[in-house]
Amino acid sequence: MEAAESSDILIIREVQSGHRQAFESLVRKYMRRAHGIAMQFVQNSEDALDLSQDAFLKSFRAVDRFDTSQSFFPWFYKILRNTCLSFLKRRGLVKSFSLSAAGEGEPDYELVDESAPSPHAILAGGELREEFWKAFARLSLREREILALRHFQDMSYQQIAETLEIPIGTVMSRLYHARRRLRERLEAVL
């Protein structure tokens, strides 16, 4: 376990032993990352803030059941991901799911609204930026997730594998399928 992870576990143990205020340092450490991840699911900053707060709240309530031999972030990520998926389903924003091209057993989701994030959510940029986000919005949730973890969260394959609880080979395969679809949609600008 890396130093950052073991410091998370120390904080969790503190929270579990009754020092609830210690949870604040975990929130402060991961709130930006949590918002960034939620954005990839809901593409709206206000909703992403609410959902990441929900996820922290759920993890706080469940903290006594957390197994301290595991890393905190993958556990929290699952809570955040499920929170975002539930939100999308409740609002009827999930159109369908299909088994991925990689032949994995778990379902994948597509969004009803394939429009790009609102212009104010995108940092100023040219046509390429707009094209990219349009193409990105048309990917399935699984494809967006793997690309977001790699490119926007700068996570290594090992970190992604731990977070998603998949083998590194599957990380590579998911990245390949996601990038292939993105490449097909951005062919004109590449």
């Binding site: 929130v27 960034g36 706080f60 799911f97 994030p117 930026r129 990105f136 490119h151 951005l186």
Partner: protein
């Protein structure tokens, strides 16, 4: 999976600098021998550069300053509601017992009993609905 498909998957590891020395060398050799794959590699490299440069706007700092305060407020509110509910339930039981032991008119006793029964029914109905929603199939409504 055919050999080229496998190679394309390896390409991702190469682009992200995740291949070990031997795999990297073997990949480069294969790329030299296959111009079509080399062209694909160039496209993926460009795609990666574009993706790496993309960022969505982050909330303002003051939003993050309020982030934990909001979570903390929600935790407090939840605790407050729990305490309030328990307190009210205790008081209601005490009032009910007191009322039935007192010498009030049967109309008052019946009225109080019906009010408390109605309130209990309402609370249990809301609680059951809440539990039902929580137990819903996570994949319900998703077309297979």
């Amino acid at each position: 999976m055919d050999d080229r498909e496998h190679f394309r998957i390896q390409m991702m590891g190469f682009l992200d600098d995740e291949l070990d020395g031997a795999a990297r060398r073997s990949f480069i050799e294969r790329c030299y021998a296959d111009p079509e794959l080399a062209a694909e590699l160039a496209q993926y490299r460009r795609l990666n550069e574009i993706a790496d440069s993309m960022r969505l706007r982050e909330p303002e700092d003051y939003e993050y300053e309020r982030f934990f305060a909001r979570i903390s407020a929600r935790i407090e509110r939840r605790l407050a509601f729990t305490l309030l509910f328990l307190g009210l339930a205790l008081l209601a039981c005490w009032a009910l017992v007191g009322l039935f032991l007192s010498s009030c008119s049967p109309v008052v006793k019946t009225g109080a009993a019906l009010t408390l029964f109605g309130a209990a029914l309402l609370v249990s109905s809301v609680a059951r609905a809440w539990l039902r929603v929580r137990r819903l199939d996570r994949y319900q409504g998703v077309r297979r």
